[in-house]
């Protein structure tokens, strides 16, 4: 039971903490709006103007253009899938080496986790820029960009997932004289599998969204089609592409949802 004095001290601590947080947020916000010349008025005007533009120029979508983008849609799907597999293959060793309980050496764990954080900090478009220089314009650069940027999220969730497992099963196999690989296969994998499947499939969902952005740097698929339509002022066709991306996202989420339930 809290006494009245406790309660007052408590209240004062809350008030002080709240004051610091709000001061920081308000200062940062003031600094940002001053630096960019942006304000509530600009916001309202901008949103209003933009939605007027969307209502007059983007709608209604030119749906009869949809069939010509089916190939691009399939490309996006394939790119996302290959990109996901690439991320999974690259992230598994990083996850195993990064997790404190399965790593070979503590230094290797730090190195692995550091690499993953580093990749997570970079926006995928940055990878895409350098990869387009390497592979040329086309789906390959986009696929590899997805593959690499996926390490940022999968490497982390894999390592966290492995660290969260129950070590007793693992100790049992180790005590019975299992090699490192046997320990991983028989002790770690069965417990880690649900995390692995959930997050890997989630990455597929993300890749479909990301594909739209990667089109900007010429990485193929629906994203590239969207950018091309916008650049040539074919806004109603662009809306069609946006709707197709939306349908693809829903479809993939539906299918991965089924897979998740079945395989888990």
């Amino acid at each position: 039971m809290a006494t009245l004095r406790d309660y007052r001290v408590h209240r004062r601590a809350i008030a002080r903490s709240r004051l610091v947080i709000w001061t920081v947020i308000l200062l940062a916000f003031g600094w940002a709006t001053w630096g960019t010349g942006f304000g509530v008025l600009t916001f309202v005007q901008g949103i209003g103007g933009s939605f007027a533009f969307i209502a007059t120029d983007l709608l209604p979508p030119r749906l009869e253009a949809a069939p010509q983008f089916i190939d691009d849609a399939i490309d996006t799907l394939l790119m996302s899938y290959v990109g996901m597999v690439m991320s999974v293959v690259l992230s598994l060793p990083l996850g195993v080496l990064g997790a404190r309980n399965t790593t070979v050496h503590r230094l290797l764990s730090y190195a692995s986790k550091g690499t993953v954080s580093f990749i997570r900090a970079a926006p995928d478009l940055i990878f895409a820029i350098f990869l387009v220089a390497l592979f040329g314009i086309g789906p390959l650069a986009g696929t590899v960009a997805m593959g690499i940027s996926g390490i940022g999220i999968l490497g982390k969730t894999y390592a966290d997932g492995i660290e969260a497992i129950d070590m007793q099963q693992v100790e049992g196999i180790r005590a019975a004289g299992g090699t490192w690989f046997q320990v991983l296969g028989q002790g770690v994998w069965p417990q880690f599998k649900p995390t692995f499947i959930t997050w890997s499939l989630y990455r597929l969902d993300l890749n479909i969204r990301e594909a739209a952005v990667l089109g900007l740097v010429g990485a193929g698929g629906l994203g590239y089609a969207l950018i091309t339509e916008i650049r040539t002022f074919q806004y109603r066709t662009a809306t069609t592409v946006i709707l197709m991306i939306f349908v693809m996202i829903l479809l993939v989420e539906f299918v991965t949802g089924i897979l998740r339930r079945r395989v888990l």
Binding site: S17, W31, G35, D57, L78, F135, T195, I230, I245, I249
Partner: protein
């Protein structure tokens, strides 16, 4: 995690919702076949990869050592990116909070129509912030304004979903009590709803800020202000050492804002925790 899966299996007694061994092998085989098909279709073949290996040497030569042509300009652009991220996130949070109140089943003034707001949020989630930026540039012109608008609108899909879900999970007891004692809608929201969802609210808002900092660093690529333009310009003229230099600046920018936002979040979460305790004690 797997132990709960095992428990579930033991409780249901049967394995009928799971695949048999044979069909599981088939599934993996299909996945592998699809991978091969996809690679061939996208022309991801060893020959092209070997080709690229040749070019990798040249590219690495061009990238290292990284250089900065005009550090003051790049620094200013980086600061603009951070400002765009802050303003975009603040406006996005306010917008999302209003929409989340409309979308949450239990407190929505729209009643059964709340799903309309949720559907709009889902549609919005399908469009990445960068696409919004391109559309806003067409609507309001170049500069940081379309960038801020894009980040603000780009938040909505994700934040409305998580805020509304958090609001739907709050215990309705204190809300009913407030209503019964004659509190207005605004009072119910600030005294009953907000304290209960504060933890979720802070965690997701800060998470979104971190995402927005990353986004704002590339918004410049389409002309929406900030450091992205420096990067894409350098890449277009083939100055890959400068592009790498700008990339490193982006890294510093992203990692340092993440460090700061993490500090702020820890503080705010402590505070939210204390405030929640206060609500509980007052209820006692």
């Amino acid at each position: 995690m797997s132990s709960t899966a095992q428990d579930a299996r033991e409780i249901t007694g049967t394995d009928n919702h799971r695949l048999s061994r044979a069909s599981r092998i088939t599934l993996w085989a299909l996945a592998a076949a699809f991978l091969v098909f996809a690679c061939l279709e996208l022309e991801i073949v060893p020959a092209r990869l070997l080709d690229a290996a040749d070019r990798a040497g040249f590219l690495l030569d061009a990238i290292f050592p990284p250089a900065l042509e005009d550090p003051i300009n790049v620094g200013r652009a980086a600061i603009e990116s951070v400002q765009v991220a802050i303003a975009g996130t603040v406006f996005g949070i306010v917008l999302s909070l209003i929409l989340a109140i409309l979308a949450a089943r239990n407190i929505s003034p729209l009643g059964p129509l709340c799903w309309v707001v949720k559907a709009i949020a889902a549609l919005e989630r399908a469009i990445p912030a960068l696409i919004w930026a391109i559309l806003f540039i067409v609507a309001v012109g170049l500069g940081p304004t379309p960038g801020i608008l894009a980040l603000a609108v780009g938040c909505v899909g994700m934040l409305v979903k998580v805020y509304a879900e958090a609001i739907e999970e709050i215990p309705m007891g204190p809300i009913e009590a407030l209503r019964a004692s004659g509190a207005s809608h605004v009072q119910v929201f600030f005294q009953g709803v907000l304290p209960s969802v504060m933890g979720v609210f802070i965690a997701w808002s800060v998470f979104r800020f971190d995402i927005n900092v990353r986004y704002s660093s590339v918004l410049g690529m389409v002309g929406a202000g900030g450091i992205g333009w420096e990067l894409v310009r350098a890449a277009q003229v083939g100055e890959y050492d400068v592009a790498m230099g700008v990339t490193l600046v982006i890294f510093v920018m992203v990692l340092s804002t993440e460090l700061l936002s993490d500090r702020l979040r820890q503080r705010a979460e402590n505070e939210a925790h204390m405030a929640r305790r206060k609500v509980m004690e007052e209820a006692e």
